[in-house]
Homo-oligomer: 414 residues x 2
């Protein structure tokens, strides 16, 4: 079965621009931290938009929002589409948001056409995907998938000591339905690529086959703070010099496993941070990723050797703790093929791609067949106010989402 | 003329320990930022100690405190001794403090012996030597020496926007006498070395012949913030990688001019500082020093070449601004010889040394014959709660200060 349903590109774009005012920043981006006052505004908007369409909203105990259209067989597990409406502190207008609003556009298109799916459809807005306010990221989809208990997620505190539980109650989005524990037939998540590959190769669609493995480490390098003027070079134990050597070593490790490996230091704090004091301590975070867990094991081993050798070379001590470990994820082959066929049907240029970033779909894939659709974003820029996706690419992504969901539903009997 | 006056080592040590409670930290150090409530406590203590001895206290418009003993010829320019009582945020018990309290001990010794100097003696406590609260360092001795206008110094604000003027008024230490503009016969400053050389070579006294030239730079390295997972290594513009390369380049430059050159990065801030974002900007401070201005010129030129080459190599842009420039200082040969003779008279092991750190004496040397005396500090550690100088070394320093001051006074006719 093939439909000729077309999503309304202008309507989709309108919702993207309309909701971008909730937490709008002067530079064109959005600051909409999870369970903040701004998050409440966009949640209220989303709930109203869905109930206006006759959908049923339910909210679970970690604030995940589900907007349901029952379809012909309400007893079946739903096909779920969505992503997240929270942003980084200086985030863009598309990261996560496109996935939720494109799902809304899919449902609007179906309703307008009077098309009823065989299985129920649900649009989901996952809480705190970014991890910018409550760490780690994907906290509430993780709770839904059983990676964290709801109690763990709810007790997670932000920098001010406010827990997710308190923050959700404050904005009236601590729901009453249980977290997870129900069957989902399929999960589709449309997202901007957050990398430069599709744009560089002029593809409109990324057929996402999985999510690369990623590991986050906390490293503390300790030397000896000393006066910058009075301490000869050979008597120093400069923690920042060790950190600098480590930053270049991480580059070398990633490049040694090119082109698929990446390695980065995202945060680095110097102590005591005085112009005329040799840094005695540096605390930094390391992010290593590869789509192959075995290669990531090798990278990790090389990284640890480097920490040891650098500490020895510069007279420092160093500790390294694994903060987060996310194994490689392979998406469902049947759903991947639904996306491939949907892209082909539309005549869109597409390539297979492994997500470099973590996404809610990586956790949902543990409990249900899942996949993702990527669209390009300008310059690969994300987590940045300058993040940008084109009108056409957003529309193409939503159209492929619609066609993939309908193909999936058709297999059930739709 | 030689005297046999001996300072009281235990009394000196007692004042060091007694005043260390003003701003005491749990780790044994002191937090006594300039013109803070803790600074007021130590200033009040110092003023009381001096007036109890019959000295006359005067305070200038930038908070510098002068405690005067008139001597036989009150109309003569004074011989001045002192340093500063403010500390770093996690400073030690000796940096600056020893110089003021040893001067107090010198005067106590003279009074106890009934010894009246030919010229007036003044003990000085310079405001905000550390620069930890109000930048730059040596702000008030600089104002005294005409390097800054009093208005410039007073309008300098701390991180909270409080000006030095407001802070001094709040603790009642904005004085009424003019800043500088009067003749000083000689200035002696006793200080801990803040470096490891005297200890390593087992000298009790450093005969300080000058202060090395130092230059501070503000560097901003700009790349492109990007997602750590989704951005391939070859498409990155990682500002932190550029900063790391610069840190190692600075090491190499300093070592290329060994053993007298030093180069350091003391502060480094990463933006946006997120675990999963490639840093788009790094702001850092560089400190380059050498006792020879001409060699420092060469180091600066090499540093600027490196900034340029690193920016080019990693696809970054970088700016470098000179924040502070302090030319090399040569102390007064006659006063240096007074210190040399005083050390010899006491039979103390001594060597000539160039100060690696800036000191109030570096500014006062612009307007009056000046010199310094160094004593060892454990491990060369300073600007640190662990900063430590021994009972004996403090006493030796004070004794040499006494003898050098008396030798200087004797040349006048004392």
């Amino acid at each position: 079965m093939q439909t000729n349903l077309k999503i309304d590109a202008a309507r989709l774009w309108g919702t993207l621009m309309e909701t971008a005012r909730f937490g709008a920043l002067p530079g064109g981006g959005i600051k909409r931290l999870a369970a903040s006052a701004e998050d409440k505004l966009v949640r209220d908007w989303f709930a109203t938009a869905c109930t206006d369409l006759g959908l049923t909203i339910s909210i679970d105990a970690v604030g995940n929002m589900f907007a349901r259209r029952a379809g012909k067989n309400p007893e079946l597990p739903p096909i779920m589409m969505g992503s997240h409406l929270d942003t980084q502190p200086t985030g863009g207008k598309f990261d996560g948001i496109l996935g939720v609003l494109a799902a809304l556009e899919v449902v609007r298109t179906l309703i307008q056409a009077g098309f009823e799916t065989y299985a129920p459809l649900e649009i989901v807005n996952w809480t705190n995907e970014e991890g910018a306010r409550f760490s780690p990221a994907m906290l509430a989809s993780g709770a839904f998938a059983g990676v964290f208990t709801p109690a763990q997620a709810l007790s997670t505190a932000d920098r001010d000591g406010t827990t997710l539980d308190e923050a959700l109650q404050a904005i009236d989005y601590k729901g009453i339905i249980p977290v997870g524990g129900r069957k989902i037939h399929a999960y589709f998540e449309l997202h901007i690529e957050q990398g430069p590959i599709l744009e560089a190769e002029a593809h409109a669609i990324g057929i996402v086959t999985g999510v690369q493995a990623m590991r986050w480490y906390d490293v503390v390098i300790t030397g000896q703070s000393a006066h910058t003027g009075a301490t000869p070079m050979h008597l120093r134990k400069d923690a920042l010099v060790g950190a600098a050597a480590l930053a270049l070593a991480i580059q070398a490790i990633a490049k040694a496993h090119a082109p698929l490996a990446v390695g980065s230091i995202g945060t680095l704090d110097v102590h005591p941070a005085s112009r005329n004091t040799v840094p005695g301590e540096v605390v930094l975070s390391v992010d290593l990723r590869h789509r192959d867990d075995a290669i990531l094991d090798v990278m990790e081993a090389q990284f640890k050797v480097q920490i040891h050798e650098i500490a020895e070379k510069y007279g420092l001590t160093a500790t390294c703790a694994l903060f987060w470990n996310s194994p490689a994820v392979r998406f469902d082959p049947v759903l991947i093929d639904d996306v491939r066929q949907a892209a082909a049907k539309g005549g869109y240029s597409a390539r297979e791609i492994v997500s470099g970033a973590g996404h809610d779909a990586a956790y949902i894939a543990r409990i249900a067949p899942s996949t993702m659709i990527f669209v390009p974003c300008a310059g690969g820029i994300s987590h940045n106010e300058a993040e940008s996706a084109s009108f056409d690419d957003c529309a193409t992504g939503a159209q492929v989402l619609l066609d993939a969901v309908l193909a999936c539903d058709a297999r059930r009997g739709g």
